[in-house]
Amino acid sequence: MKSRINHTGRKSIPYSRIHLQVTGADIGRPRLTASINLEELDLPPDARVHLEAYHREITQRFDCGTVAACIPPEDVELSEVAQGGRHLFRLKVVSPAGAGHRLLATAERMQAHEGPANLDNRESLITVVAREHTGGVPWALEMDTEEQPALVLNSAIPGALNRIRTDAVFRALILPALVREVLTWIFDRGDGMGASADSWQGRWIEFGTRVTGGTNPPVDGDPAAIGIWVEAVVSAFCTDLGLCDSLATAAEESTHG
């Protein structure tokens, strides 16, 4: 895997400093509330702060004031990016007004969370959206070379977005296939070997390596060996999350009422 050297002098803002919460996506009116903590990052107090929601070529930008007086968006409508909810966020700290629009610090590829229950803003591997017009398909993956994968759930399924986090049956029947499909897609396209560490492909491979206890994918590109590695990732992932046990428990509860 390639690593990238940052020659720009730009700082990375830890994800733990930023909380993004979106409500109302289920009714097609997503609203964003953010909290941002830039204290003790050694940034100029008068540097400007901008939060951008983006999806493909559409960007909606929020002026958040300055490092010293940062005013993040509070319950503002995401009116310009896609209704389907597959948007990500980036935070920029830019040199003070009149000092040349230089990027001083950024946090990239952040995903907001639905509702107030989960403010865990770790860098995400997949975007989850609910959408109409899925052609009767319960769930599907949207793959794109540039953007991280999106799990599209059929919005006709009640509470689909919540179920993927909490419903044992839902999770057990979707997540293993999802992991297998994403990793297979990466290697089928030849994106696996040369993926940079900060690309979504690189982060998925790092995830696979981590979940298997440090086993890297085969470097020779042999499809059979890659297939074995992918299955090892799926197996380790399922074990980690206890998907089979949870499904068994749910099935027993269903059987015994």
Partner: protein, 234 residues
């Protein structure tokens, strides 16, 4: 004129099969029935119309769709492949390149079927036109002066999607490359040489690592360009 619909997955598949047959020289009749057959298409949640079946330029197409779809589009339409594939089929006869003997030369699917690849998505004949004309109006006329050709310049400017959303970048490109007399682009803009659109895109893509291009005006961007672009400022 017709009411705009979306192709469903069956309709899109049928369109792709037809394109393949067309490329193989097996088909010529455009499958317009896919546009209205409920098995291959479905109605939108609102009513919008295509306007006349004929077009003079892609810019006109963009203007027309910005007027008919724009007011209903809160992002979902922009990202609905079925709508763009339906429109590409509807306007296929006007948009598809033709050989001197009148035979359609559609090129790759991505010209008419919205591709999931970020590299190929900007090649869609209708969606890219709509998105840029809706956002920038007359400033992007130079990218869409032709009807049957996507054009080298659009290929260069649109290849990096982040730059689409930077108003200053698009306006600077318009200042540099738009020929106000021909309403097309200036000679040399589509070349690979110094100051060309290709080099403009590559240079600005580099600058995204160090500059907040989204917050810069066209004038500020033009100021930081190397001297090789000066020949397009006259």
């Amino acid at each position: 004129m017709a009411e705009i619909r979306r192709l469903n997955s069956a309709g899109t598949r049928a369109f792709m099969v037809w394109l393949a047959a067309l490329r193989a020289g097996e088909e010529t009749t455009i499958p317009m029935e896919l546009l209205t057959d409920p098995e291959t298409s479905e109605a939108l949640e609102f009513r919008a119309f295509t306007g006349p079946d004929t077009l003079s330029s892609r810019y006109e197409l963009g203007q027309r769709l910005a007027g008919s779809l724009g007011p209903h589009d809160r992002g979902a339409i922009t990202n609905d492949p079925g709508v763009w594939n339906w429109l590409a089929l509807f306007f296929f006869e006007s948009l598809c390149p033709v050989r001197s003997d009148g035979v359609f030369m559609p090129g790759e699917d991505a010209n008419f079927i919205l591709s999931p690849s970020h590299q190929k998505r900007p090649r869609h004949a209708v969606r890219t036109t709509y998105v840029l004309v809706r956002e920038y109006g007359d400033r992007v006329r130079f990218l869409f002066s032709k009807l049957r050709e996507r054009g080298e310049l659009l290929e260069q400017i649109a290849a990096t999607q982040y730059l689409w959303s930077c108003r200053g970048v698009i306006e600077a490109a318009s200042v540099l490359y738009q020929d106000d007399i021909t309403e097309g682009f200036k000679r040399g803009a589509a070349s690979k040489g110094p100051g060309s659109a290709r080099r403009f895109r590559d240079y600005l893509s580099q600058l995204t690592l160090t500059y907040d291009l989204h917050g810069m005006t066209a004038e500020e961007i033009l100021e930081i360009l190397p001297r090789e672009y000066e020949r397009f400022l006259s």
